[in-house]
């Protein structure tokens, strides 16, 4: 990818990040870039949103579970 393309990609990602913050999605840059990449691969965003949600829930449950275990 040439410099200009890279520049543009970064810019796009910046904007997406700003929007994401605006909407309080709670996603960090890294996660966001993965998601954008998935979108660019034509993955259904509806499903992707579901995945993010599920995973988050799992993670939360896991955390809670872990905490429970540790305590």
């Amino acid at each position: 990818m040439d410099g200009a393309g890279l520049q543009k990609a970064r810019e796009s990602l910046d904007i997406v990040y700003l929007i994401s913050n605006l909407l309080n999605t709670g996603l960090d840059r890294q996660t966001l870039s993965i998601l954008v990449a998935l979108c660019e691969h034509g993955v259904n965003p509806e499903a992707l949103a579901a995945v993010v949600k599920e995973l988050r829930r799992e993670a939360a449950a896991l955390n809670r579970g872990g905490n429970g275990q540790s305590s």
């Binding site: 990818m1 040439d2 200009a4 393309g5 890279l6 520049q7 543009k8 990609a9 810019e11 796009s12 904007i15 997406v16 700003l18 929007i19 994401s20 605006l22 909407l23 309080n24 999605t25 709670g26 996603l27 960090d28 890294q30 996660t31 993965i34 998601l35 954008v36 990449a37 998935l38 979108c39 660019e40 691969h41 034509g42 993955v43 259904n44 965003p45 509806e46 499903a47 992707l48 949103a49 579901a50 995945v51 993010v52 949600k53 599920e54 995973l55 988050r56 829930r57 799992e58 993670a59 939360a60 449950a61 896991l62 955390n63 809670r64 579970g65 872990g66 429970g68």
Partner: protein, 895 residues
Amino acid sequence: MMEGEVVSGLVKQLVLRIFPSRSKSAEDGAGSHGEVVDDVVERAHKYAMRIIGSRIVPSLANDEAAMAESVKRQLVLEGRSSDALTFADLHRRFSSLSGAGSIENRWSVLYLLKAISEDQRREPSETRGIAGPLTSTISRPAALGGLAALPDSPVKARLSNGVSDSVYAPKRAQRSANLQKGYASEQESLAPGGMLLLSKDAENLKAAALREYVELNQEFSEVTEMALVRDVVYACQGIDGRYIKFDKEIDGYKVNDNLKLPKATKVLIRRLCEVGWLYRRVKEHITESLEQGPMEVIGTVGQAFCAALQEELSDYYRLMAVLEAQLHNPIPFMSTVEGAKGAGNYLSLRRLWVWLAEPLVRMRLMAVLVDDCKSLRGGAMAGAIHMHAQHGDPLVRGFMGSLLRRVCSPLFEMVRKWVLEGEIDDLYGEFFVVPQPVKAEALWREGYQLQTGMLPSFIPEPLAQRILRTGKSINFLRVCCEDQGWATAAADALAAAGTPAGGGGIGYGETETLEALVVEAAARIDRHLIRIIYDQYKFREHCLAIKRYLLLGQGDFIQYLMDLVGPDLSQPANTVSSFKLAGLLESAVRSSNAQYDDSDVLDRLRVRMMPHNEGDRGWDVFSLEYNARDPLTTIFTEFVMARYLRIFNFLWRLRCVDHALSATWQTMKPNCSIARLWASIDGGTKSQLAAVMRRCQTLRNEMNHFVTNLQYYIMFEVLEHSWANFLDEMEEAHDLDELIVAHERYLSSIVEKALLGERSQLLCKTLFTLFDLILRFRGLADRLYENAREVQTRGEIAARRKVKELQASVPYNTGFRKLPTVQLTKELLASMGEEMDVIAAEYSSLLEGFFAQLPVQQHVDLKFLSFRLDFSEFYTRQHMGTSTMHIKLKRTPKF
């Protein structure tokens, strides 16, 4: 497959990202716990892949703008307008990026962010364990595709208790899922870690019971309400849905017959679909007029109407988009818990009914307007809409008002342009002022007309007249007067009315502003026009000139003219040369005071020969003409000039008769030749001659009395009086119309009073017969005196000859010659006496008729005439004793 691998890789990364702490510990590989985590990550990855794999195709149309709009709306709804603005800005920047390196699938990204954000928002309530809004009557239909696979998922497997063994018929799947949700709400937040959060409080039980009820209710129908709602939303946008389709035969939307639905639902659907039906009508009209119809038929007002409708429709579209977004908004998530929560966002038919209540009213109004205005154009259309705006409902009034403001804008622009610039910017015949193709001189009277059909009812008729006149004045100034000063007058008017010069500041509902503008413009332009007419074109001077020459006000000139042209006019009409008469006119001007008049005025004075018949004399066809040039022809039209001509002819004839009587007097007055004749004749002849002459004198006197008084009356009571009135009115005239009316009144008062009007035709005829009679009398009197003089001269010559004869003693038979002359005179006198009797009898009977008809005339001024003519009541008394008078008359000539 490459694609799949990439996706899989990415998902793996994602999973690792979301489980950061665990993955870290997994990397460490510390303890058995790490393996558990690995296992969890693995499962999560699989699960995620399954979810992704379950729905490849998005269930929503790919519309980035709509998505952005929905995000914005969401932000605004949350009361974060500034964030909404920031978002709009970001989105603009986002979508402006293109080319290599930029994100192609922007819609997806936006959608994703929005969905996640909504999930985040819902999170807090979820942890608190509050069920979805109870008001929602729809159960959440299960996800479209991925549900059948759900129980297989590891998470699900752990979740599902008794439900998983239910029948998995495709139709049942939904129900089972719903039931699951019902339980799920009881169980609340089932974590994959195996922890159950139970919350069996009363509220949740109630919710569950309600859901149960909804489930049971749905048993009846084969189709979910969700699908029906979607269909209704489609139908409202004029699109056929799966179950609800437009039926041409019944002209409305109809639910598929095969569908078993409760009656109430059907009724509700039918009501909702009214919006769709109305929408179709409106849309049809718009497309018909904007795309197919020729421009001439629609016109600018029609176009504005369509544009306004279109704008209304786009509002409607916006609402429909929101509704549709609401319809799809809560993505059917796998989790039953979320499903139950999301149920609150779904639209039910009833909710839709509430949502559509206002659009329905608007749409109904639009449809009514469309029906009413289909065949109308221009001002008529605006008027028709205005009639609809006269409504008690403030909503309707407001809606119509805003619609009218847009519809009328081309119309008001036309008015403004017409009033201030005199231009008709009306390609399609929509303005209520219509130009007519006429010549310059008829521009004022016929150039522009008010087309009442196109006059919208909110512009009152007098205002319309004023508008018409103002623009007409400008055009008149421009075309006929070649004047440019009106532009400043118009600019002044604009400044005075306080409207901005550039844009058409007037809109519908501001009739007062419009009126103020029109009044200002009218006043200024009219004043300017009147000034031009008076100063530049010297209207007053020309009126005076016409009065002096055509109405014989310049006495000395007329006298000269009559003396000069008299001999020529006695010839038969076809031998009279108008060139010669023109020359005579010239010399008459030169020899009278008229020579000091303005040369411009004198140039316009012409001789005119009227078309003549066989046997007409020059007197009958001669007339004067005044050529009022171009702008003034608006006032002195051909018709007006024809009336002037009639008056002139009458006055000319009157003057001619007067002139004739005066001329007769010259021969009749006692002079020495008569006295000598008197001396020369003898006996019977003498007394006979005396009687005839006496008769002649009295008759002439009588006629002279009549003619002089009539002339006096015409000149002073009629002409001067009317002229004085006209001068006053001229001062007061504010615009050309008033001036024209004043002049018209002046002219018709002359015509009326001078007995030339319609009502006094008979009188006028009598008068003309009287004139003829007087002229006949003149001929007779002239002949009488000529004969007398001839006799006298002959006698003298004979006497002289006799003297000579005696002197020269040449035998000359004079006695023989003298005798027959005397005898001739005797016979002649007898015949002349008889003729004079005839004339006198006719005259007195005509005069009597004239007097009898005079009081019949309505005009009050004619009373003066009758008083003047008969001030000693001689004629009245004579009329009383007609029989005795006859005897008296008969007796006189008998000798």
